[in-house]
Symmetry: C2
Subunit: 124 residues, 2 copies
DNA sequence: CTCTGCCTTCGAGTGCACTCCAGGTCAAGA
DNA sequence: TCTTGACCTGGAGTGCACTCGAAGGCAGAG
């Protein structure tokens, strides 16, 4: 049961301290982070694990708004697992679709690169 | 050699008319789009092909600024192919990296989904 | 001739996700 | 005791990529 300062939490999560405060303010965390007597935030392992989940959702492109919704469901506790699942599945669908699209665009760019490298004859 | 109105070009490219004008204003196109006597834009096949390239770059996440730089290089004409190639390769690198990251985050999310679907025993 | 609708420009507005600032608190070290 | 540095808050600012609004031109239908 470690408990980290905001700077340490920032290092651990790869976010900035600014962003960590912002996420908390914006309701993306499950509870308010605990405070030292000085008022400084102390991040628990649990906080860190949740923030990593948030990071996964964010870096797969989930909007803040949806992360907040997911956090709210988890915060509510047992009983809404179906809703959480639906939210994750919907997100999964979107990400999958984006991967397909980006991959296909990337192939077209690769073709262009091949042209510049003289590995392929120009189309015209 | 067709020549399309902005509405038709919008439909063809999947962009909005607003966005087409914005791209032109912002220097993302190779030349100003031709005009009908009425002042209305007329998009050539060449315009359309270039806009598709722009769309590929954009939807793989290349910033407007970099697309503008690439357009400028192409506009300059022969002699800077190495620069264009470098730009595309650098972009390729970034995209590849993002694909890896997103895919790995997606796998973690899939694990969470599997938990909610009761297909896997919880970790703790 | 008037209406409808698509187009024009310029400039302002929007939404998102941070990112930063000012002014202040607090604990530890010289 | 003074300074330093990490942290606090509320609110403002930033950057990006659109997105829209206002005011007007012009062509074809009725």
């Amino acid at each position: 049961m470690t408990s980290l300062s905001i700077a340490e939490a920032a290092e651990q999560t790869g976010l900035t301290a600014h962003t960590l405060r912002y996420y908390e303010r914006d309701g993306l965390l499950l509870q308010s982070v605990e405070r030292a007597p000085s008022g400084h935030r102390r991040y628990s392992d649990e906080d860190l694990r949740w923030i990593e989940m948030v990071t996964r959702l964010r870096s797969t492109g989930m909007p803040i708004r949806d992360v907040r919704r997911y956090a709210a469901l988890v915060r509510e506790g047992d009983g809404n697992e179906a809703d959480r699942l639906a939210l994750l599945l919907a997100h999964r669908e979107v990400v999958e679709q984006q991967l397909v699209e980006v991959t296909s665009h990337l192939r077209a760019i690769d073709y262009k690169i091949a042209l510049y490298e003289g590995r392929v004859a120009p189309a015209s």
